[in-house]
């Protein structure tokens, strides 16, 4: 089951603005109420259509960054731009349409009684109704290969099915940018394979937070390491993973026996 051949239509900016990066983060700072500084001046630029992996140790600020990309968290300092829009009022509604955030726990995103209603939730909030809404739901489910999950209840789904359903709920909004927080966690190898195929077939800008280094290598040509609330490394994924020093310094480790250079030679 692959998503090859199915193109998920995405909204496009006007032609004159085609050069704006999909995501531009400048000097982002954020401190939690308990005093912990999660983002300490973070800069990141992602071009349209790129797939970037965000790597880094636990607590580095990756999820916090994700929440700033669609305005759920508001920074203490710095800006986030999605296309030409600054992530702030009065643009928040449009930003949330453009940035599709897939959370770590799929159950947090599947809150309606059936998958179809969950997938319909987003577009319905955008104002779609009736046949147009149904068509959008069909489109999103097809893009992740989940047509059969329409009338299923979320808690009867397997981990992989939940992850794909959660992805569909976000794709239904036709986002420009997909932000995924540890999308392979809790998946068995088959589920992981399905997800790689689906994501690989989506021609959308993707920002993927993941501790799964082979997954990052397979899906994302570019990787960024975040540690201590800022970007500490930014390079092509094969090069980054071949640099043992950088990996060790930021508590990253390749799986036993995995040689990124061997993988690169195969391509």
């Amino acid at each position: 089951m692959t998503a090859a051949g199915r193109t998920m239509r995405t909204a496009t900016d006007g032609g004159a603005r085609a050069s704006a990066p999909a995501v531009e983060v400048s000097g982002l700072r954020f401190r939690y109420p308990d005093g912990h500084e999660a983002l300490a001046g973070l800069d990141l630029r992602v071009e349209r259509g790129q797939r970037v992996a965000l790597l880094g140790p636990n607590g580095a600020g990756k999820t916090t960054l994700a929440l700033h990309l669609n305005g759920i968290s508001v920074a203490d300092a710095g800006t986030v731009r999605i296309g030409h829009l600054v992530v702030a009022e009065p643009h928040l509604a449009e930003v949330r349409r453009r940035v599709g955030l897939v959370f770590q726990d799929a159950d947090d995103q599947l809150f309606m009684p059936t998958v179809a209603e969950d997938v319909a939730f987003g577009p319905a909030n955008l104002g779609l109704r009736g046949a147009e809404l149904d068509a959008r739901v069909d489109e999103a489910l097809a893009a992740v290969g989940a047509d059969g999950l329409r009338s299923r209840t979320p808690h009867h789904l397997s981990g992989g099915e939940r992850r794909r359903a959660a992805l569909a709920t976000v794709l239904a909004m036709r986002p420009d940018v997909l932000v995924l927080d540890e999308p392979t966690s809790g998946l068995d190898p088959a589920g992981r394979r399905e997800l790689v195929d689906v994501l690989g077939g989506l021609p959308i800008t993707q920002v993927v937070i993941t501790p799964d280094l082979p997954f990052a290598l397979e899906l994302c040509p570019r990787s960024v390491i975040i540690d201590g609330g800022r970007v500490v490394a930014d390079a092509a994924t094969p090069d980054l993973l071949a640099d043992d020093d950088v990996l060790r310094r930021h508590r990253l480790e390749l799986p036993f026996g995995f040689d990124p250079r061997a993988v690169a030679r195969q391509d």
Partner: protein, 255 residues
């Protein structure tokens, strides 16, 4: 008090009742149970009519008596209380099988048992033929505030997850040899309740974030659900109408 709720009563089948729209079923059930509740206790014939209605509904719904009887255990404590009443109730005594019991008490006991059993059976049939999310949709169609049904819908959605987390905490405690028998040993249980609240609340915050991320601004969007047809209302209305006819007749007819 809250025990025995872990499994909803829904029985998957394809009976006519299952196919009825939920708002129709809820209204019919409430109408029927109201008729039962106002029926004067002396009109035993009326209760026979009510029982026939319920039996018909059960047959049409493909729900067997065994299923209903098992679920009726939930009114057990009240039945037990009712059985005591003739012995402790006040008023004239009459002789039943050599034992002096209160006449009013006998009538009172009959009243409680009949109404409790009939009402519970009707509720059981409703729950057995209607999945919980559909019941909630029916409530929205019946003009219950959308906020309430939305809260109920989320409660139903996450109940299994929360109960599951609770179960895992208990298993972990049991695995470390915790087997309390007395209230003063219940501290870990109580602490786990506090921990569960925090986890539930934090999940609520995450769900809220997920809702915001998909454009939620505070009102649940209306996702179309087909309305019930007039025929459905007429069909479902038959039994409550019969029951009300019996009840009203019993009420106005001289004793």
């Amino acid at each position: 008090m809250g025990a025995g709720h872990s499994h909803p009563l829904y029985v998957h089948a394809h009976s006519p009742t299952h196919r009825l729209a939920p708002e129709v079923k809820v209204t019919a059930t409430v109408a029927f149970v109201s008729a039962v509740a106002v029926t004067p206790r002396e009109a035993i014939w009326a209760f026979a009519v009510h029982a026939a209605c319920v039996a018909t509904a059960a047959a049409v719904s493909h729900i067997g008596p065994g299923f209903v009887l098992r679920r009726l255990l939930v009114v057990g404590p009240f039945i037990a209380f009712a059985l005591l009443i003739p012995f402790v109730g006040s008023g004239d005594r009459i002789d039943v099988l050599g034992v002096a019991v209160s006449r009013e008490g006998l009538w009172g006991a009959w009243n409680v048992i009949a109404k409790a059993a009939l009402g519970a059976t009707a509720s059981i049939l409703l729950a057995a033929t209607t999945e919980v999310p559909r019941i909630l949709t029916g409530m929205t169609r019946l003009r219950v505030p959308a906020v309430l049904t939305a809260i109920a819908s989320f409660m139903v959605r996450y109940l299994e997850i929360i109960a599951g987390e609770l179960g895992r905490m208990r298993t972990a405690m049991a695995a470390r040899g915790y087997a309390p028998r007395w209230l003063w040993q219940a501290r870990p249980v109580a602490i786990s309740a506090g921990a569960l609240f925090i986890r539930s609340y934090e999940r609520g915050e995450r769900v809220h974030a997920a809702m915001l991320a998909r454009g939620y601004t505070g009102t649940m969007p209306e996702i179309g659900v087909p309305r019930a047809s007039g025929l459905q209302w007429w069909t479902a209305g038959l039994l409550p109408v019969v029951a009300w006819t019996a009840a009203v007749t019993a009420l106005v007819a001289p004793a």
